[in-house]
């Protein structure tokens, strides 16, 4: 009798366990996401993403957001190949340079069907900027930008204050160069201990440098209507000369810039070795964590031809749902959650980057009024009035490398700027079949 009772109890327990497993299996849904951010990391944006995932998972029991961190420059080509092979992740972050390719392959699902069409018209309208237009095709919307990057000048506020330089007055290149000279410091033996203006001309991990802003101010674009490079002209040569003169004439940028990657600039800045440098606004929060939140400022490029500022390159990461995925609805739900006001605030407050909706920033006046957060307002102004983003009609992969190679030619090889740009233009057009 006792044995029978024990057996019955054991069977009941087993049945409950099996039933529990079956229910869990039925409810469990894993959404795979490829991004360069690692939610287990300590960078501000990584913390913001981790917090979003935690909140979403707790609000959606049985759903697991599985992030598979990727090397950023290989992620989009890998996604395109995975799309063709039929094994891409449910959610992917696409780099701006290859967004056109991703759209042309039909690899990104229409977010309108998934959730965007259900938004109030006002919510859609306020997002309709340059980033939105790159994701929109007719009535369809294939992605939302969740890392809005704007390139300008990142500077050490304490160094500028010490040198008596007011960043608000650096609206022309002559003023900027004079400030960079004041900020360049040498020791007793003549070795430079701090450079006024850091730039990077390595082809490895290349970012857009200052010459692009001057070219954009005069030409409006870096490419012609067919995607061919538009550099080897008087404006391009003037811009390249201005950029390389910082090394060869003014001595405010080190010659080592020809070997520096974008990452080197952030390291040098964090080490107090450069006072100002060409940088991306999305990295400011990380720099603040290293050198103090009140010690990092951001400015839009100086202007030319009497204009207050020159346009800067905008870039970023367009987040989309894979069109071939089996979990599109849930993937869309998470992407929508990443775009809510709650998440937008996380991107700003924790991640230190621009929000997707301008109203989010407007609603956070107390936060953006803090001196340490003033860069967000500056960058938002830049995005709204002085931004340029490549067309998605053609790919522009390799343009930053080609322009950096031209800078190397001038600095190391003493090549004439126009000749260097002719070679750069030829190289880019050949590489891209233009």
């Amino acid at each position: 009798m006792e044995i029978s009772k024990t057996l019955r109890g054991a069977l009941l327990g087993l049945a409950t366990f099996v039933a529990g497993l079956a229910v869990t299996a039925a409810e469990a849904q894993t959404i795979r996401m490829w991004t360069f951010l690692n939610p287990a990391g300590n960078a501000p944006r990584e913390k913001a993403l981790a917090e979003m995932i935690r909140k979403f998972e707790s609000a959606n029991p049985g759903v697991k957001i599985s992030v598979e961190p990727q090397v950023w420059d290989q992620m989009t080509p890998k996604f395109l190949a995975a799309h063709r092979a039929g094994n891409a992740p449910d959610i992917v972050w696409v780099v701006t340079d290859l967004l056109g390719d991703a759209l042309k392959t039909g690899s990104l699902a229409d977010l309108g069907e998934l959730f965007v069409n259900k938004w109030p018209a006002a919510a859609r309208d306020e997002r309709k900027d340059g980033y939105w237009s790159r994701c929109a095709q007719g009535n369809r919307v294939h992605c939302l930008f969740h890392s809005r990057n704007y390139y300008g000048v990142i500077y050490r506020t304490d160094f500028l204050k010490e040198a008596g330089v007011d960043p608000a007055k650096l609206s022309t290149w002559p003023a900027f160069i004079e400030a960079a000279k004041k900020l360049t410091v040498k020791d007793a033996s003549g070795n430079v201990t701090r450079w006024g203006f850091g730039q990077q001309f390595s082809e490895d991990r290349a970012d857009s440098q200052m010459m692009t802003s001057l070219m954009l101010s005069r030409q409006g674009d870096l490419f012609d209507a067919k995607g061919g490079a538009k550099w080897a002209n008087a404006t391009g040569a003037e811009a390249l000369k201005l950029q390389t003169d910082m090394v060869t004439v003014h001595g405010v940028t080190p010659r080592q810039a020809v070997t520096w990657s974008a990452e080197d600039l952030y390291e040098q800045f964090a080490a107090g070795r450069i006072a100002m440098f060409t940088g991306a606004v999305v990295r400011i929060s990380t720099m603040q964590a290293k050198v103090g939140s009140d010690n990092v400022g951001f400015m839009i490029w100086p202007g030319i031809d009497g204009k207050p500022h020159s346009p800067a390159v905008m870039a970023g990461w367009a987040v989309g749902v894979w069109s071939g995925g089996k979990n599109k609805a849930m993937a869309g739900k998470f992407l929508e959650y990443m775009s809510t006001g709650e998440s937008d605030k996380l991107w700003v407050e924790v991640g230190g980057q621009l929000p997707g909706a301008p109203s989010t920033l407007a609603s956070m006046k107390a936060f953006t009024d803090l001196p340490a957060n003033a860069y967000l307002t500056t960058a938002a102004l830049g995005v709204a009035k002085y931004g340029w983003i490549p067309s998605v009609e053609y790919g522009v992969g390799g343009y930053r490398q080609a322009l950096n190679k031209a800078a190397q030619d001038v600095i190391v090889g003493n090549v004439d700027p126009m000749a260097a740009l002719v070679a750069a233009e030829k190289r880019f057009n050949q590489q891209n079949n233009r």
């Binding site: 395109l80 070795n191 390595s202 490895d204 080592q256 020809v258 070997t259 390799g398 190679k405």
Partner: protein, 285 residues
Amino acid sequence: MRDTRTPFLLFAPAFALLGFVLLSPVVYAGWFSLQRIEYGAPTGYAGLLNFRRLFDGETLGATFGRTALHTGLSVVLTIAIALALAVWIDRLRPRVGFIVQTIVIVPWIVSTVVATLLFRWVFVNDIGIAAYLIGTVTGGVSGLLTEPGGAMGLLVVVSVWKRIGYAVIVLLAGLKSIPDELEEAARIDGASGWQVFRRITLPLLKTPLLLTAVVLTLSNINTVETPLILTGGGPRDATRVLAIDVYERAFAIFDLGSATALALVMFAGNILLVLAYVKLSRWRA
């Protein structure tokens, strides 16, 4: 009567699996390189289009030349220094020899990325310790990484430093395998130290030397981490070797077709080197 088929049948599954794992990427790459690649995926047969694209821009010849220079210098210097070290260690007392061996092997076991970054931090800017010393002594700025010749020189130094431990271990093993009585007999016959080394030791080290030479050659040709991290292929393409070219085609320009074609050309070169090794290793002194 012995059944000769059974051993082959037993081995067949393992060979099939091994063959699939080893060869399928090569076969796929061969097929991929003959396709028109759009948006990262094959869209149709393109013949030799991707191979012809390798010659756009007329830079491939120079890239081959730089690869040969980097590989040749690195291999020759690594073997020369490693041989000297191995002979020296072989003559040390066992305990001291073990300590020196351990020190020599450290660069080989350190991650390539970490090791290259260390060199980069030492040389890359004007407060890197080496660059600072050079600048202080010469009164100028170190041009090691900013001048084409200096950058290639430093790349060779890093390549030699990274792989010397491997070469020392292989050559030392070769030296240990040479019977003592051969050298003793030569000395009794009146041979000098140099004559013993040239006539006895070196010929008997032929196989480990060849093995080291081929492995080092393959390793130097195929490495992308060292030049990518140290110089990024610059300045002015001075250190753009084949592996960097493949990387840039694939991940900077996103031209996966020509990247695959170039990778296949490198693969063919690797196979030729291995065949040369196999043929040479049969040669008898």
